[in-house]
């Protein structure tokens, strides 16, 4: 078969280029006017003219294209931390979250006014006064103090609901993704059923049942939010686990005699954690919103628990005369949620290799 061999292939590719070069630089008139075809196609020219063919460019490959690095490869987390440190979104949200946590832990440092004990009805819906920079609620309580002291319950609900959702949803998703087959089918169908019932809708239905009405507190609310919030994390975990499940290192571990469960716990889950952490961070904000939405509807936390949602609920009737009583707890709520969502965004950029490429 007269196929072009490997020896003449570079010649044929380089010739058009060199022919052009000849036209431009050297006064080789006959060649320039002759079509370039004979030069490229035949090895032996029909014309007895000397040919000047430039040497093929030797491109040194190694020097430019090889990525030589003596440093030890960084882990996903090390890489993520390096890119996070330089991201303004991460720095802002991390500072905000630390501040919110600090306020929740030590509310006394930010206001000397007691939130409940010093409420005078003569101050009802009053504007800012010396010592009370944000004014008063309808009960005559100091708004600043109530906002500061309300941080704790909102954060507690959000944090523990997220932990619960990650544990339950993560476990279910990991089992479904890793074992596949009928386990996956059953768990996926159960997830679909819960998915058809939006978080707030399900929570509203359940929260008003007698069994929950009789023990309304932070923990029952956490249970309800977890019960309706887990499918999302389960889906994410399942997808991530399926991606990792067939990786070479898992096969290697299995062939070395690691049990399926051991492989799942020691090798698959740590490597499937990144997207779960991102979604968990964002859902922390979602759960804080859910808590305050339920409290705002008057069916979340009991009225004696201080929370932003409850304060907005009790400020509702006096919206027209004292909108600031809604505005301040709403602002605190929004900033907290915003910082968690921003953190999730920053983490996604750092942890998701697909997003990083862009």
């Amino acid at each position: 078969m007269p196929e072009p061999t490997s020896s003449n292939a570079p010649a044929s590719t380089s010739t058009p280029m060199s022919a052009e070069g000849l036209v431009g630089s050297e006064p080789q008139a006959p060649l320039a006017t002759e079509a370039p075809t004979p030069v490229g196609r035949t090895k032996k020219s029909a014309y007895p003219i000397e040919h000047f063919v430039a040497d093929p460019d030797e491109t040194p490959v190694r020097a430019t294209d090889s990525a030589v690095s003596d440093a030890a490869p960084r882990s996903l987390w090390g890489e993520a931390w390096r890119s996070l440190r330089r991201q303004p979104l991460f720095i802002i949200s991390a500072v905000l979250i630390l501040a919110v946590i600090f306020v929740a832990l030590f509310p006394g440092l930010f206001t000397s006014e007691p939130p409940n004990e010093n409420c005078l009805l003569e101050n009802s819906d009053g504007g800012p006064a010396p010592g009370h920079p944000l004014g008063f609620t309808v009960q005559g309580c100091d708004i600043l103090s109530r906002v500061v002291h309300g941080t704790q319950s909102s954060l507690t609900v959000g944090l523990f609901a997220t932990i619960g959702v990650v544990l339950i949803g993560g476990l279910i998703g990991a089992l479904a993704g890793f074992f596949g087959g009928w386990i996956d089918a059953v768990l996926a169908r159960i997830g679909d059923i819960f998915f058809a019932l939006p978080l707030i809708l399900g929570a509203i239905v359940v929260v008003q049942l007698p069994v929950f009405q009789q023990n309304r507190n932070v923990w029952t609310l956490v249970v309800i939010l977890v019960a309706f919030g887990w499918p999302q994390i389960a889906r994410i975990t399942r997808a991530a686990v399926i991606e990792v499940r067939n990786a070479d290192f898992v096969t290697a571990a299995r062939s070395l005699g690691v049990s399926p469960l051991g492989a799942l716990v020691k090798h698959v889950i740590p490597n499937a954690l990144a997207p779960v952490i991102v979604i968990a961070t964002i859902s922390l904000g979602t759960f804080i919103v859910a808590e305050s939405t339920l409290s705002f509807l008057g069916i979340g936390l009991p009225p004696d628990v201080m929370s932003w949602g409850n304060d907005i609920f009790s400020a509702k009737p006096s919206l027209r005369s004292n909108p600031m009583a809604i505005f301040w707890p709403g602002l605190a709520l929004s900033i907290t949620v915003l910082s968690f969502i921003m953190l999730g965004d920053a983490l996604r950029d750092a942890l998701d290799p697909k997003a990083r490429k862009r």
């Binding site: 058809a196 909108p323 809604i326 929004s334």
Partner: protein, 308 residues
């Protein structure tokens, strides 16, 4: 295609049954007397309680109760609520308002979200893009009831451009503000989703081909980039239609709209079990159908997807 529709429809049935079973179980089988709400603080005599339990099938074993309820749903006979009104009539009365509200919100979030997302995606990294991104983050973070009160106070009370609350007629103009509030959060999600999708697709091979064969920029963007970028957006919008119906609880509460959400909220507060279960069933049904619709839209949007 017809076979695909049938199959997808059949797949909906277990989800629907499971979800209604879950709600029915939660409302009627958790500890606590489901009829307590009718009798109030003083309680009814045992004879009355027994009569009520019989009327609402609560004296039957749980499975029989549920099957009787399903039979009611399938024959459009939802029974009466605790105040004795037929539930089907109440839903028929309030549903049009909520449907109007939800569709208006959906249109608002889809149109503005896609347009803003398209522009932001095409100008990735420019000022418009970054400012729209920051703005969308803020919109996502502010809870809907804070947003609702803020807009009600500013637009309804201070500026008086529209009524702060909605009358019984629920006219188009009155529903505009609640619809904007309802759609605003999802608007931010639609925007971000469209933007990401556009950025992914704008460098695709078929876009280069379209440009290379001499199509105008407008045609390339609208027909090739946008259409192919809309798939994740449509998924979101479909799932969101169900969420809007549920999310309407808060919005309808703020703006005093007499819709499904408000009715559900009142039923929940009154402990009206049959009413709650029926409305939630209805919402689940809408949610499932919306998702089915989305699946069918895929085929139309993406020529690569063909259902055998």
């Amino acid at each position: 295609m017809a076979w695909y529709i049938v199959r997808r429809f059949l797949q909906l049935i277990p989800v629907f049954l499971g979800a209604t079973l879950l709600v029915y179980f939660l409302v009627f089988s958790l500890p606590g007397d489901a009829t307590a709400a009718i009798c109030g603080e003083r309680g009814c005599t045992p004879a009355v309680v027994a009569g009520l339990r019989e009327q609402y099938n609560l004296d039957q074993p749980f499975w029989i109760q549920y099957l009787l309820y399903l039979k009611g749903v399938l024959t459009f006979d939802l029974g009466t609520n605790f105040s004795g009104r037929p539930i089907a009539t109440i839903i028929a009365e309030v549903f049009p308002t909520t449907a109007k509200l939800a569709v208006m919100a959906l249109v608002i979030e889809a149109v503005f979200g896609i347009v803003f997302g398209l522009v932001a995606g095409l100008r990735k990294g420019k000022i418009f893009d970054s400012s729209v991104l920051v703005l969308s983050l803020i919109v996502i973070a502010v809870p809907i009831f804070v947003l609702g009160f803020l807009m009600q106070f500013l637009i309804g009370v201070k500026l008086q451009w529209t009524n702060p609350t909605v009358s019984g007629d629920a006219t188009f103009a009155e529903l505009l503000l609640p619809a904007v509030v309802l759609g605003l959060v999802s608007f931010a999600y639609v925007l971000r989703l469209t933007r990401t999708s556009i950025i992914e697709n704008v460098n695709a091979d078929y876009v280069r081909t379209a440009t290379a064969k001499g199509l105008s920029r407008r045609r390339v963007v609208v027909v090739h980039v946008l259409r192919n970028s809309l798939i994740p957006v449509v998924t979101f919008l479909g799932a969101d239609l169900g969420a809007l119906m549920g999310g309407a609880i808060v919005t309808e509460g703020i703006f005093n709209v007499n819709g499904v959400g408000n009715t559900l909220y009142r039923a929940v507060l009154n402990g009206d079990g049959p009413m709650v279960v029926s409305i939630v069933t209805f919402l689940i049904l809408i949610f499932c159908l919306a998702n089915l619709l989305v699946d069918l839209l895929y085929a139309w949007l993406d020529p690569r997807i063909r259902y055998a």
